[in-house]
Amino acid sequence: MTAAHQTLTTADGRPLKAALVRAQRRARRRAFLLVAPLLVFVLLTFVIPIGQILYRSVHHDGFSANAPAVSEWFAATAPGTEPDEAAFAALAADFKAMQAARTAGVAATRVNYTLPESRSLFTKTARSADDLVPPYREAFLAIDAKWASPAVWQAMRSSSSAYTGDFYLASADFERAEDGSIHRVEETQRIYVQLYLKTFALSALITVICLLLAFPVAHLLATLPMAKANLLMILVLLPFWTSLLVRTTSWIVLLQSQGVINSALVAMGVIGDDGRLPMIYNQAGTIIVMTHILLPFMILPLYSVMRVIPPGYARAARSLGATSWTTFRRIYLPLTLPGMGAGAMLVFILAVGYYITPALVGGADGQLFSNMIQFHMSKSNWSMAAALSSLLLVGVLILYWLYDKLIGIDNLKLG
């Protein structure tokens, strides 16, 4: 009876509970130490760069750091205040400093985000900074009449703080009016929201096409005997392992107007020589090539689910009187849902961020959101690129989180 009240101990006499806790703590620490080097590496090369994007999307001190005097005036006055002589004097002082330090371009870059084409105004004024003598207002107007425009002052006002939401406003097709109010840009200039929607719509379309193409193939692979299935699997895995650029090149060769398919069709007399089909350098090209590239990502998860569906279920349904269509719809299809979900989410996530293929075969109307980010990067519009990247990142991370919730990243398999 007394034994039950005694605490269990280890061989060297310590209480078992404490020893177990210690051992667990040690195991936990060891596991963490194994992961730690990689975590630090990924933090450095991945998390911090992403953080810098987020920071740059709300921070740009090009104007506020180089034009401190007038920035101070903006801070002290209410939005929409008419610029008085003090404001012009502050601006003149800033321009003289900027001309000496050759930083007018940097400040202009910031203002240019809010009011396009103000760069020339800045560089022109900086060049004649020596002419800026009292009365300052007249001196500025003598250099360029645009200095009287409230739009320019509004743009400078929104540039005068280092932290700004302007880049997000611009990426949602909004702009600030002269009085500081926010409204949507002209209908003809609304590009970002439309592009965002188009990227999601095209990705959804590609996902659906992939699903339709992958289903019969995965089913065939899953029901064939192992030896044959493994042989056919090579046809799925080879594209998966082949360089993306190689596959894109191949499609250009196949689809271009002087390419293999068009030439074959002309030779067979299906189409005339002047009726060659435009299948590439447009939206159709993007869809065809991306479907081809992403198809294995759909086939593989579908296959691994279909492989383990017992064939007896379908036979049982048939023997109980179900037609083959009912068997498929009521028995087989629901059992494949996990595979369809996993494949569809993976394909959709990868499609939303696709860059290389649309850039090479997309032409004018097959460009996706990523290409817009690259466009701004190439124009050194880094803040705009950062804001657009952040928006895309949010979309992708929501999908990734959903994927983890529904399917679990542990179930991600390759080949």
Partner: protein, 312 residues
């Protein structure tokens, strides 16, 4: 799935239609990869089959595009092919340089990704690992986050990597180190996934058995753990290498003129003056990927056998 004997005529028709559909989809998958192989031997600078090629006239075929891979960029491509010519080719030919860069960057990125990734996968396999799910999600995310965003962020970060702590230690753009780090990071998810897959079903008591028989942690790792996870590690390494070998966006954003890789050269070729030389490179890359695919498949089967997993 063979047709059951009780199938009615409509089902028979549907069954054969289904086989035809599957065949067409397989053709869709594989034909783009196969079609470039004969075209890369085209004697003419066209991207379509010439009549001579279709009639199997030897004159319609040539190795000129493969030869141009060696000569483009050379200082004196026309001199007789002796040791000077080969030295010139090795030092100056654009594609040779690109291949060298691709191999160097790929090699170091693979070493880095595989080393760090394998250790981390061992830690993640332990159910006691704190924040296991979150850490896993972070480590896999370079595969999920669009490459353009990663490249943009790296471009910002590399232009002044010490800026965060207020120092200035030069830039990482246009350096091999920078590219190796970027490519290693992109390859890590693949290493984690493949090694974790080999570790599922890994019998933890084997480690305890080794320890109880007197093995120290090092011996346990090299004699017990390593042989069992080696197939996964090698597949992961191959994935990481292919990722680096095929990567173009980070190179576009971060590399200088000295770090041009094969994909970067192909990118230029596709965007600007597309020449059949691209097809010759593509053919070589297809052959390489066939070799890699066979290796990975053999490894996977070996791993399944070792772990006693039957079937796929």
């Amino acid at each position: 799935m063979p047709l059951p004997s009780y199938a009615d005529p409509l089902e028979r028709v549907w069954y054969y239609a289904y086989l035809v559909i599957c065949t067409l989809i397989f053709i869709f998958l594989i034909s783009p990869i196969l079609v470039i192989i004969p075209l890369s031997f085209n004697a003419e600078p066209y991207f379509t089959f010439t009549e001579k090629m279709l009639s199997f006239d030897p004159q319609g075929y040539s190795l000129r595009w493969y030869d141009s891979l060696l000569t483009v960029g050379m200082q004196a491509p026309d001199i007789p092919r002796g040791s000077t010519w080969y030295a010139d080719m090795w030092a100056n030919a654009a594609w040779v340089k690109a291949a060298k860069n691709s191999v160097i960057i790929g090699f170091w990125a693979t070493i880095l990704a595989t080393g760090l990734g394998t250790l981390a996968a061992l830690g993640l396999a332990n159910p006691l690992m704190p924040y296991r799910r979150l850490v896993m999600a972070i480590l896999i995310s370079p595969m999920i986050v669009p490459i353009i965003i990663i490249a943009t962020g790296m471009f910002f970060f590399y232009s002044n990597p010490c800026g965060l702590v207020g120092l200035d230690c030069g830039r990482l753009t246009s350096t091999y180190t920078g590219l190796v780090m970027a490519h290693a990071m992109l390859g890590i998810p693949f290493v984690i996934i493949t090694v974790t897959a080999t570790l599922t079903g890994f019998d933890q008591s084997l480690i305890r058995a080794a320890q109880s028989l007197g093995a120290n942690p090092r011996t346990t790792f090299f004699k017990v753990i390593m042989p069992l996870i080696l197939p996964g590690v090698i597949s992961g390494a191959l994935f990481a290498f292919v990722t680096s070998f095929d990567e173009v966006v980070a190179v576009l954003f971060l590399a200088g003129p000295d770090q041009q890789t094969i994909p970067r050269q192909m990118w230029n070729g596709i965007r600007e003056a597309i020449s059949p030389a691209i097809l010759a490179v593509a053919t070589i890359l297809v052959v390489i990927s066939i070799a890699l695919l066979s290796t990975v498949e053999l490894l996977r089967r070996r791993s399944d056998r070792l772990r006693g997993v039957t079937g796929r």
